[in-house]
Amino acid sequence: MNSAELITALLILAGAFLALIRAVKGPTVFDRVLAVNVFGTKTVILLALLGYIGNRSGFLDIAILYALVNFLGTVALLRFVESRRFFQ
């Protein structure tokens, strides 16, 4: 009865796997940052779907937390990459 949600969750998991492949391959560091960011977005959607499938109440709060952590993490990563001499 929750098959539509499950199909969506599986599609998003497949998308997350493709983003992971990009993070592994990524020739530049920015490809990797982009892949991590996309992965985080997928995680937020997946959490909301899982919360609905399992009828669990606290999931949407975790999803909000992830959206925030993901954005802040990306910005922090970029600050590091922009300002420090990371790669010679």
Binding site: A14, L18, A19, F30, L34, N37, T41, A48, L49, V75
Partner: protein, 116 residues
């Protein structure tokens, strides 16, 4: 009826999220990869969250219980948050890459990751 629309929206959103990832994997260079990441993902999350909210409303109406306003409010909040942050971080990444001198792909040389 409403439930079917919700299901269709969700699966469409999942499809968009998947195709966005496919674009990130298949696009030839870094700047073109930003495009699916910024657009397809934003649309995908919007569709999925709209579908979830509709589903919650539809189930509540079918069961004749009051609609769970808190959950719908949270869904709207997450969707708005992602709607703002995803393009912002995409922009920040492209700006950082531009500042660090990543060159766009002009079609003259081989694909960047061909030797990876």
């Amino acid at each position: 009826m409403m439930e079917h629309i919700a299901h269709a929206l969700m699966i469409l959103g999942g499809f968009f999220a998947f195709s966005g990832s496919l674009g990130i994997l298949r696009m030839p260079d870094f700047y073109s990869r930003l495009h699916p990441a910024g657009t397809a993902d934003t649309l995908g999350q919007l569709l999925v969250f709209t579908g979830l909210a509709l589903k919650i409303i539809a189930v509540s109406i079918a069961d004749e219980v009051p609609v769970d306003g808190l959950s719908i409010g949270k869904l709207v909040a997450i969707s708005l948050l992602l709607f703002v942050t995803t393009p912002t971080s995409t922009h920040a990444i492209s700006r950082a890459a531009h500042l660090r001198g990543v060159k766009p792909w002009t079609g003259e040389k081989e694909r960047e990751d061909a030797d990876e």
